[in-house]
Symmetry: C2
Subunit: 488 residues, 2 copies
């Protein structure tokens, strides 16, 4: 008989993939209101390192504590609860190597950029389907299929259902139980709602799509935007307890926080701190404005989540906040009446490139009129526009770029370029249509030169290599870029 190491014993019993999901399921009381009355959590330890995860009640006497281990090896846990049946339960599990394609959660990398925890760069190419999880299975599955065939790797989406123009339908699930009077009991979560949302988060994870999960928003006819501070805070802790185990979750505190007049700036600060305290995994945290930016310099904000039409200011925001700048919303491709949803594909693609050459990342949305009000921006479905394939083209350019990300190198009225000094330069000329351009780079490197038509999606290399000050012919069309890469 062979002697097994403790780790191996555990491994045969319970395992979780690195950055995967470990879940403790416990049986406990179902009487009274366990959502409000039962406190549950667990310590998770790898050697001397201890993390705390909140548990949650999932209905019918079942309690869960979830945890995303980030280190391969044996982890120990012990539960803590005010309920004796749930308290002091101990055990171990083995964290095994991540499966191929699992790179861990996305982190800020190199100040202005992102990378998965394993170091692979993450280049956010986001889109927006605010209320897609509230549309029923047929449309939701169609949205997933569209995403699968799209260039997008991040999705802005709301927890709560949406009430707004083009959004009149009721959701299939509600996050709370009804009171007898027909209102909402913010003390009782509806587990079916959250299980449905978790299923969608998991499907996004399988597609490699980060879920930029919007926790509050103002477009509401049910009362979820004005539940009061106690219910808000309990909701946040419940959401964090359930969802932080999904490595693809980003916490977006709100869409257009500044339109939620029932909440104060102090509320937003508190929400950030609650999430910081309760999320053992340190997922990305941001908040999205309508008119007025939240102060992204605050320490609990990991990156800027911005709504703005003037992408020429991207590099200014980088300097102001010294964090990654994600302009999630800069008007959507579409033809609806509202100005935030009726720019041409060409203008949206132009804004993507302006943001890129400012050292930031830009987000997509689509709002073409639809006879049944199925607009991608909110409900998902299928894409109709001409920008996604151009955004895919940009994504490929970015993916071929330097690993450290693109930082502004030249930012004058004459020229704008991002890259890595001496190695890689990406210039963008925007609406300008020069028939030639004189580059003026430090001596010491020779460059291969490619002329990029961002709308026509062509990359045309020049035969020669160049150094120092040199002139290059350009197409004399708008929306062109030039890529310079050091010739080895």
């Amino acid at each position: 008989m062979q002697c097994m190491a403790a780790w191996e014993v555990a491994n045969t019993m319970r395992t979780a993939e690195r950055w995967g999901m470990f879940e403790l399921a416990l049986e406990g009381p179902s009487g009274g209101n366990p959502f409000a009355g039962v406190v549950l959590g667990a310590q998770f330890a790898y050697r001397n390192r201890v993390l705390y995860a909140d548990g949650f009640y999932d209905g019918e006497g079942t309690y869960h504590v979830r945890f995303m281990p980030d280190t391969v090896g044996e982890w120990r846990y012990v539960t803590q609860s005010n309920c004796p049946a749930l308290d002091g339960q101990e055990g171990t599990f083995a964290c095994v190597e991540a499966a191929p394609g699992n790179h861990g959660p996305v982190r800020v990398h190199n100040t202005y950029h992102f990378a998965y925890e394993d170091g692979i760069p993450f280049l956010p190419i986001g889109t927006t389907c605010y209320a897609w999880v509230h549309q029923g299975n047929t449309l939701e599955e169609q949205t997933l299929e569209t995403l699968r065939r799209s260039p997008f790797n991040k999705l802005r989406m709301c927890v709560f259902p949406k009430h707004y123009t083009y959004n009149e339908n009721e959701p299939l699930f509600y996050p709370f139980e009804r009171t007898e009077a027909g209102g909402w009991d913010f003390n009782r979560f509806n587990p079916a709602f959250f299980r449905h949302l978790e299923r969608r988060l998991g499907q996004l994870l399988e597609l490699g799509v980060e879920a930029d999960l919007i926790l509050f928003h103002p477009y509401d006819r049910w009362g979820f935007s004005n539940m009061g501070a106690e219910a808000d805070d309990r909701y946040l802790r419940y959401v964090v307890a359930r969802f932080s185990v999904y490595r693809n979750v980003w916490w977006s505190l709100a869409n257009e926080y500044d339109l939620m007049t029932g909440k104060t700036m102090g509320d937003w600060d508190r929400f950030f701190r609650i999430i910081q305290e309760h999320d053992p995994h340190g997922h990305l945290r941001s908040v999205h404005n309508c008119h007025q930016f939240y102060d992204h310099a605050r320490p609990w904000v990991t990156h800027c989540s911005i709504q703005h039409s003037d992408l020429g200011r991207t590099s200014e925001w980088r300097k102001m906040y010294r964090k990654p700048v994600v302009v999630d919303e800069c008007c959507y491709e579409g033809n609806i009446e509202e100005n935030w949803g009726n720019i041409p594909a060409q203008e949206l693609v132009h804004r993507f490139w302006l943001g890129t050459v400012g050292g930031g990342y830009v987000g997509h949305g689509e709002t073409y009129r639809h006879p049944e009000d199925v607009l991608w921006w909110s409900k998902g479905g299928v894409l109709h526009g001409q920008s996604p394939e151009r955004i895919a083209f940009l994504r490929d350019i970015l993916a071929q770029g330097p690993a450290g990300g693109l930082d502004p190198l030249i930012d004058t009225w004459r020229e704008k370029a991002v890259g890595r000094a001496g190695a890689y330069y990406l210039f963008y000329f925007g609406v300008h249509q020069p028939a030639e351009h004189t580059f003026d780079l430090p001596e010491g490197s020779r460059y291969r030169v490619e002329v990029i038509d961002t709308w026509g999606m062509t990359v045309t290399p020049l035969e020669e290599t160049f150094e120092g000050r040199f002139k290059v012919p350009l197409p004399g069309r708008p929306y062109c870029a030039v890529r310079l890469r050091r010739a080895e």
Copy 2:
């Protein structure tokens, strides 16, 4: 024998058309330096109203005093000079009705707009040929012919020749005499230079083109941009004495005054005051910036002459200065390397409409590369671009507008419109491509509605008339406008 009234006697002797040119020619000394030594002027009086005009030396012992009478009837004059031969010469002349097409000089009208002195609105549709009078007869005549067939009724042009990229050629005439050492004698003007320029001013007048005459500019290899204060002031007085008789002259103190580092803000203030004091006819006065606006609120500035790329700010400048806003330079249609000269026609036309819907006026220029460096923006010649016909289309829209000019009526992110409240609205949607738009106007007027494609140059009337809040289908293309005119 019939008794003739004094007016009729004068009329048979000497006449000048209202807003035309009266010129006294006097013989005087030619020795020494009459430019510096001889002071000459005249009082011109209509009844009790007296105006003062400086005279000037035109070489070879000939002196002139010029005057543009603005009132029909008998005018008296008497010269004043430090030279006895030129002093105290008296006489009368008859000012007769203006010929058809002569509407007088352009004045500020209705705070933010322009009109000829006879009250006919003047809608500035300007272009730019900075150095066209320094290109020799063949090209200069071609420029005049191009202007004749163009939509433009104002031309930015320099007195001095221009030294700059694409501008290497020497002028045919120089404004000053050479010194023996080969420099310039700023004390001695070259009458041939000024006679040539006057001929061109007169030809523009015949074409109905206002000459926005640029008195200083920084692009200089001859030394005319740094003559010193005494020579600057003498030059200004000489120019005003010669040219103010041309009713189509506007005084533009400089192109890009802020690049002329040899001059102080005090110099610019003094230049304005010299022109105010010496010009009996009160021609329009402005100064054009590169980076930093001159303070257009100063009392001697009649209108804003602006270089800026963001035409969305036009209404802001109106509010700031409470004067007409002319954005003479917002980048030129072309394909040269420099960013100020390589925007597509579509972008320039878009900027014209943005400025229009901000309540201002926008200027044109063209900078397509040319094998002999004949770029319209500086040398004139012929036009190659696609914007002039669209600018002509806009001019026609403006000409059909209300006489008082277009003032901002709606200025929100949702909508921008200029016009006259309750009577006329011109909306512009810019890059947005709504498939419909809901207008929301005060009840009480019904409107005829026309959908305008500013690039396609079509005006499509709707059959119905509308009142109050109403929705109109739009083409779902960018660069559309809508005109609402009260249905009588």
